[in-house]
């Protein structure tokens, strides 16, 4: 596979350099929203959508900023774009599916401070992807985030019934599981050559 082909970019963000387990982006929702599989799935979908929208907007903004040599404004304009696209998703979900809106609750506005999304915008700029490559990258990253979240939620649902020593806090336990998951994801290194 060519390193700049769309399939490789997608696979790279999805499995090989998984945003959560290999690059440590978006850990707060990963540890916070991964208690139940159903919530994890909805959260993942919302993140994929925000990633696609903000990736497209960031691509457009970057062209304008480079044209007028205003690169130092990149960070501020990206964060503004992300905040507004989260707002857009929120209004969209509220209008078309009020029940989903209630399930996601506070986690929907919190997507703004999810570093996976700002990270995505910054990485696609650093690697100077073109428009369709950006879309593949955003889809891969979003799918990877959802996959990690669902795997974690599945493991944590099983853990409810397990007997654990009482000095072990919930957070430390989740981090141990995340470490093991991350170890197994390292097996994908070298995939696609």
């Amino acid at each position: 596979m060519q390193p700049d082909s769309h399939a490789f970019i997608f696979l790279n963000a999805f499995l090989i350099n998984n945003f959560v387990l290999a690059m440590f982006l978006g850990l707060c929702p990963f540890l916070g929203v991964s208690a139940k599989i159903s919530t994890a799935w909805n959260m993942g979908l919302a993140v994929v959508f925000v990633m696609l929208v903000s990736s497209m907007c960031a691509f457009g903004i970057n062209i304008v900023l480079v044209k007028y040599e205003l690169e130092f404004l990149r960070l501020i304009s990206y964060i503004a774009v992300i905040a507004s696209s989260v707002q857009l998703v929120e209004m969209f979900v509220k209008k078309f599916s009020p029940s989903l809106f209630r399930t996601l609750g506070i986690f929907l506005p919190l997507i703004t401070t999810n570093c996976a999304i700002l990270g995505l915008a910054l990485f696609q700029t650093n690697r100077s992807y073109n428009f369709t490559q950006c879309l593949a990258f955003a889809l891969g990253a979003g799918a990877g985030f959802t996959l990690a979240l669902i795997l974690m939620a599945g493991l944590r649902e099983k853990l409810e019934l397990a007997k654990i020593p009482d000095t072990v806090t919930q957070a430390a336990l989740s981090l141990m599981i995340a470490g093991l998951l991350s170890l197994s994801f390292m097996g994908f290194a070298g995939l696609g050559g």
């Binding site: 401070t113 009482d166 991350s182």
Partner: protein, 218 residues
């Protein structure tokens, strides 16, 4: 009488120390974990990241506190994010000017300080309600707590993963590096072990106090 939580806190030693131990952003509140795990594969990177975050914390804390009566309540979060993003951009360019190697090692994580919940949390929970001096002191304490936590991870991961400390060789040429510590899973494992350790210490201490009380009662 219980203290009103919205009232400005009094400036005391507690203002400084609560961020270091009792409300340590990483080990107690589990905030800002992304940079904690991502850039702590060596102690040098950890220290640099800690100092950069501390600088942003201090500057944004002071500015938010100065503007606390000017910013309208409805748009405060957006204002805080813009203030933080400005200081992060300054830090980013400063690090690039000081050391290009360091800038490459930390990568996008300097710019990702913007979305570090520790900083936004301090702006919202402390600086927006308190005077400039106490906000400064509180941000300083939080910054130290964050840096110490990063160093805790960075030192362990560098010693085991590379056999060095701040780039100095520790074990001589025959050392076989324990590579997993320098790789992503190592970050998760080391943080989990620190959390185990702290919760163990806290449990031991709580058990000791109840034992003492029982003795006094008897």
């Amino acid at each position: 009488m219980p203290a009103d939580p919205r009232a400005p806190a009094k400036l005391s030693l507690e203002t400084l120390t609560q961020g270091i131990w009792k409300e340590n952003p990483v080990f107690v509140m589990l905030l800002g974990l992304c940079p904690v795990l991502a850039v702590t594969n060596t102690a040098t990177n950890a220290l640099a990241m800690g100092l950069a975050t501390m600088f942003v914390l201090l500057c944004s804390g002071v500015l938010v506190s100065l503007l606390r009566n000017v910013i309208p309540k409805q748009v405060r979060i957006a204002c805080y994010i813009i203030i933080i993003a400005t200081f992060v951009t300054i830090t980013d360019y400063a690090i690039m000017a000081i050391s290009l190697d360091l800038h490459k090692a930390l990568g996008a994580f300097i710019q990702l300080i913007v979305v570090n919940c520790v900083i936004l949390g301090r702006a919202e929970a402390y600086a927006s309600k308190n005077k400039v001096v106490s906000s400064f002191v509180n941000a300083f304490g939080m910054g130290i707590g964050f840096t110490v936590a990063l160093l805790c991870l960075g030192v362990v991961r560098e010693v085991f993963g590379f056999g060095t400390l701040f780039g100095m060789d520790l074990f001589g040429p025959n050392f076989q590096p324990w590579a997993v510590f320098a790789l992503p899973p190592g970050g998760f494992f080391v943080l989990a072990f620190w959390l185990f350790l702290f919760s163990y210490v806290r449990k031991r201490r709580a058990a000791a106090t109840t034992l003492e009380e029982k003795k006094h009662a008897a």
